[in-house]
């Protein structure tokens, strides 16, 4: 039996982000639940978040973010042969979001699937995309994280409605370009997407959950905070070690935008004082699987990052599931 020959490496060619138009400030939330701007900022570090219109779907946001990522690398829809949508809030369970998004983008007959690893979804999908390119199952992959958490939030529950938000982020993944080694002259694949360090712990399945289709998201804040600030930095450091990148070489650290205090604690623990730290949560809220690509797209758009920068990503969330990898920015 024959097998595919893949590319020697995979890399991200472009990012794209999309945020719904409606901005919801802390003061606006304080008019409907017992909270305040000061309380929200000090507990979770969020000043405002974006909430999708009632008729705006996860697929709509995914299409918008993916369109920007495609435009950013100059590929046409016909070049894409796999679409992965990481989401835990699809409009419907059947059909999957990825096939709908692919059709709307004009991608004819790609492989298409949804992936649910909650807030770790983008990093899981990125690992799958990298593996697909390296194995030859696909040449160009569209990886999207898109969420409409607002429809799964109890807007009278002040412990969750202040945190979760809507949005989408996308990346185009393709083969790494071969570059000649300056010393040996031999052609090596350009470092693009490092090995993934991932895992899960179903013992904590009851810490973040939605009980059934008529329920809202419930989170045990203290338990999640304790886990996130004690169990994850070794995973992030493992991803660095596997990629052969010293944390001191990192240009930017992009953890899932769960809570600014988790972000700051993780940043301290990985020991990369020179790296910029993504704090997109401040005006984007927690957008689950969308938060990492959205943060990267916005930082790139603002000119805060450069092509070739080394970024450490770590997604983590319900399950619990987590995944981390080092990537080189496009």
């Amino acid at each position: 039996m024959r097998t595919h020959q893949g590319a020697p490496g995979a890399r991200v060619l472009a990012f794209g982000g999309y945020q719904p138009a409606r901005i919801v400030t802390n003061d606006e939330l304080a008019t409907s639940v017992d909270t305040s701007d000061e309380w929200i900022r000090s507990r979770v570090g969020i000043a405002s978040r974006r909430i999708a219109a009632s008729d705006e779907t996860v697929a709509d946001m995914a299409v918008a973010a993916a369109g920007k990522a495609l435009a950013g690398c100059g590929l046409s829809p016909a070049d894409i042969d796999l679409v992965i949508v990481a989401t835990c809030t699809p409009e419907v369970m059947i059909p999957n979001t990825a096939a709908v998004v692919a059709r709307r983008l004009g991608i004819a007959v790609p492989g298409a699937y949804d992936l649910n690893a909650a807030c770790a979804g983008f990093c899981y999908a990125l690992a799958n995309a990298s593996d697909a390119v390296r194995s030859g199952s696909a040449r160009y992959v569209l990886v999207i994280g898109a969420e409409k958490l607002s429809q799964w939030v109890d807007w009278t529950d002040r412990s969750t409605c202040i945190i979760f938000a809507d949005g989408a982020g996308a990346a185009v993944v393709g083969p790494a370009v071969a570059v000649a080694d300056a010393v040996t002259g031999q052609s090596e694949p350009e470092a693009g997407i490092g090995p993934v360090a991932w895992g899960s712990d179903g013992n904590m399945a009851d810490k973040i959950f939605i009980k059934d289709r008529n329920s809202f998201i419930v989170q045990e804040g203290q338990a999640v905070f304790r886990w996130a600030t004690t169990a994850l930095h070794p995973v992030a450091l493992q991803a660095c070690a596997d990629a052969g990148v010293d944390p001191a070489e990192l240009d930017v650290f992009v953890p899932h935008q769960a809570n600014l205090r988790i972000i700051e604690a993780l940043a301290r623990k990985i020991g990369a004082p020179q790296a910029k730290v993504a704090t997109d949560i401040i005006d984007a809220g927690n957008t689950s699987s969308a938060s990492i690509p959205l943060a990267l797209a916005r930082m790139i758009e603002r000119g805060e990052l450069s092509s070739g920068d080394k970024a450490l990503l770590i997604g983590f969330g319900a399950g619990v599931c987590y995944a981390a990898q080092v990537i080189t920015l496009p």
Partner: protein, 84 residues
């Protein structure tokens, strides 16, 4: 080796200063975390984690809510160290 209450208080004060920025001389046994020291539920988790590293005593989340004063935490650590 059992620690005295004063030793636990000194260690705890250091932790609270580091995590919540409360000067050590303000951390006295009668103070409540929430009302007197302005320490919120997430900082309590960080204090519990740091206390575990320092004293080798695990304070689970479901116990944390009952520890209202500095003395409560000292007592908890003392009891747990004796049992251990």
């Amino acid at each position: 080796m059992a620690m005295t209450q004063a030793e636990v208080l000194a260690g705890l004060s250091e932790i609270i200063d580091e995590i919540a920025g409360v000067p050590a001389d303000e951390v006295t046994p009668d103070k409540t975390f929430v009302d007197d020291l302005d320490i919120d539920s997430l900082s309590m988790v960080e204090i519990a984690v740091a206390a575990q590293d320092k004293f080798g005593v695990e304070i689970p989340d479901d116990q944390l809510k009952d520890l209202k004063t500095v003395q409560d935490v000292i007592n908890y650590i003392e009891r747990a160290s004796v049992t251990a």
